[in-house]
């Protein structure tokens, strides 16, 4: 498994989410923490918190790992070697950072990174939003915002906007808002636990669990109602203050503050939306459970119905019954009557397939060849090559090859010829040769 590459750029600004995602994918960032790693980190975090330590010497780290190992895996072999591996693993994943610059000169000092601290804080924190904590947080937030608004009214230059308005908004106010949001998540987790608890106590105690279930339901519903009321009232006040600050920043053309205020406004909107969404969701759940308690649990205190229904279902194939339901068909709309004409058969227009005869020049190459051969012999041609040389130029070029054979046939028929045993090849025109004969006389017709 890949871990965080030491060279990877994982501290990108969160302005461009797609760039951040692409960068994380490119670096193939993963986290792989085993239970013992988490316990080790938690032990380090708590020790640092208690003793106000900024870093740990290497021996302290190893001792701490051995203690953790002893408590969760007593009897494990070679804890020192495992500690070395664990420290290496955590360093590769940027959970532990070496903070001295001694290199190999001496053993190093190590500190928990913000990543490790955030992970441990998540597991250690069990704070959930309560009326007291919310009132305290919203009160502080309100005072902070009023102070920032005062500073915005007094700010005269970019430096004072940055130091007195934008800075406190980004750090103090955002921290407070995040504090509320974190506690909201804590309360979400608490609600899930209540839902699981209700299912569990009904499973185990059935009818006698009804009162406890109702108490749990009422308590959570009351908490959510109260929190939502506070959130609705106070977030309205926060938004009014933030909009005043934004107007002042706009007038002063301080873009940095405008953007920061906008982010805080969106954060506050999210907090307000959480309250109403959770109240609605809990209201649905509340009604469902109430109906269940009334219609199922109270009507079946001995929980016999489930068993009887189970038996009925298992035996249903052998003794079936079928429920009846109404089944009125949909109203049919009849199509309007329309007269249809007789459709003609599919056809295509007739075309003249036979062409009219044309007058062409008569062709009789064979007769022409005989006449030409006779003429050539009469004119004194004494060899086959001589006759062919006179006749072939008068024929189309395409017929020269075939014509040469016809000329030889006509000469053989019309004249007396003599052929040597080894007939010599004689050229005819440019591209033909013939085995030559000598013409010794013309046959009488």
């Amino acid at each position: 498994m890949n871990s965080v590459s030491p060279n990877s750029d994982t501290t990108l600004k969160p302005d461009d989410p797609s760039r951040v995602v692409a960068s994380l994918a490119r670096d193939q960032v993963t986290l792989d923490l085993k239970t013992i790693d988490l316990c080790f980190l938690a032990a380090l975090y708590l020790k640092a918190d208690k003793a106000a330590l900024a870093s740990f010497e290497e021996d302290v780290l190893i001792d701490m790992f051995e203690q953790v190992c002893d408590s969760i895996e007593p009897g494990a072999e070679n804890p020192r070697k495992r500690a070395t591996h664990a420290i290496q693993r955590l360093r590769e994943q940027r959970m532990l950072a070496r903070v001295d610059a001694a290199g190999i000169v001496r053993a190093g000092d190590y500190a928990l990174t913000t990543l490790a601290a955030a992970i441990v804080q998540y597991f250690l924190t069990d704070e959930a939003l309560t009326r007291e904590s919310l009132t305290l947080l919203t009160g502080t937030l309100s005072a902070q915002l009023a102070e920032v608004l005062g500073a915005a009214k007094r700010a005269t230059d970019a430096e004072s906007w940055h130091a007195k308005v934008s800075g406190p908004l980004r750090v103090t106010v955002s921290e407070l808002v995040s504090g509320i949001e974190r506690r909201q998540r804590g309360l979400d987790a608490q609600q899930e636990e209540v839902q699981a608890e209700i299912a569990k106590i009904l499973q185990s105690d059935w009818f006698s669990a009804v009162d406890r279930c109702q108490t749990l339901l009422e308590t959570t519903a009351t908490t959510l109602n109260e929190l939502n009321e506070i959130l609705l009232r106070d977030t309205h006040h926060f938004l009014a203050l933030l909009q005043d600050i934004q107007s002042l920043a706009e007038a002063a053309e301080n873009y940095e503050t405008e953007v920061t205020v906008q982010r805080v406004i969106e954060h506050v909107d999210r907090i307000a939306a959480w309250g109403s969404a959770r109240q609605q969701a809990w209201s649905d759940y509340y009604q469902y459970v109430h109906r269940y308690l009334r219609d199922v649990v109270r009507l079946d205190p001995d929980r016999a119905l489930s068993q009887r229904l189970r038996d009925q279902t298992a035996a249903w194939p052998s003794s079936p019954f079928f429920l009846l339901v109404a089944h009125a068909p949909s109203i049919r709309l009849l199509r309007a009557l329309e007269t249809r004409g007789e459709r003609p058969p599919v056809a295509r227009p007739r075309t003249q397939r036979e062409a009219d005869p044309e007058w062409v020049e008569p062709e009789d190459v064979h007769a022409d060849i005989e006449a030409l051969v006779t003429q050539a012999i009469d004119e004194g041609a004494a060899t086959l090559a001589g006759v062919s040389s006179r006749v072939l130029p008068k024929l189309p070029e395409a017929l020269h090859y075939a014509g040469a054979g016809r000329v030889a046939y006509a000469v053989g028929r019309l004249a007396r010829i003599r052929s040597e045993h080894e007939r010599p090849w004689a050229p005819v025109l440019a591209r033909l040769e013939v085995e030559d004969w000598t013409i010794v006389g013309k046959d009488s017709p």
Partner: protein, 228 residues
């Protein structure tokens, strides 16, 4: 003195909800508290609509679990009996509805939980025999294809049960169970004898004992090896 909004049938029928409610009821839908205004309309107009529907030869029934449905008692309005698949799936869903574990998710269950429950109750072979009797009659069948066939039949049954208002189909293959599922538990709700309860339900026109549905003609050679 009546607390109903409607004083006459004409007023009840003129209400904007009437067409939708009437069509849903005539198509066999069970209208429950989850249907919000439709349910509230029925509660409000119940006394007037009961008499109105009786003229069509059917009863507008309200159950204590919080739902209404229309039950034809004559031949004037069409009716149908649920299929074997719908009955089995409906009973398994009713069991899930009664299970306190379902409460944790506000009455929502996953299809896998339903299939597991069916399989645990009846066993795979009985499921195949009941849901796909033509395939089972062939004797030996391909287990993988039979399982696929069961899943298909269950999906089809779920779609029809959703149309009838027994469940809501949620996104990502989830199901929300509705109180109307308790109709499937009706024969065993009382403490008395089940057969006596069934007789009473048959007399009331709520159930029938014979399977009147036609087995669909389908290609039972689908699990044979394809010819090269």
């Amino acid at each position: 003195m009546s607390t109903s909004t409607f004083h006459t049938l004409e007023e009840a029928l003129a209400d904007e909800h009437y067409p939708e409610v009437d069509l849903a009821l005539r198509r066999g839908r069970h209208i429950g508290r989850d249907d919000d205004t439709m349910y509230e309309y029925l509660v409000d107009a119940q006394a007037l609509l009961e008499l109105f529907y009786r003229r069509f030869g059917c009863e507008l029934i309200q159950q204590s679990d919080g739902y209404f449905y229309l039950l034809p008692t004559g031949d004037r309005l069409g009716r149908r009996q649920l299929s074997a698949a719908e009955m089995l799936v409906g009973q398994a869903l009713a069991l899930l509805y009664l299970d306190p574990a379902t409460l944790q998710h506000g009455g929502a269950v996953r299809r896998e939980a339903l299939l597991e429950r069916l399989s645990a109750l009846l066993g795979t072979e009985m499921l195949v025999r009941t849901l796909d009797p033509r395939r089972a009659r062939k004797g030996k069948y391909d287990e993988r294809i039979a399982a696929e066939s069961v899943r298909t039949k269950v999906s089809e049954a779920l779609r029809r049960l959703a149309e009838l208002g027994f469940i809501d189909l949620l996104e990502d293959a989830g199901l929300r169970l509705r109180p109307a599922l308790m109709r499937f538990a009706e024969p065993v709700r009382g403490l008395g004898d089940r057969s006596g309860a069934l007789e009473r339900l048959v007399r009331a026109g709520e159930v029938v004992l014979e399977n009147g549905e036609m087995e669909p003609e389908e290609d039972i050679t689908a699990d044979e090896e394809p010819q090269p």
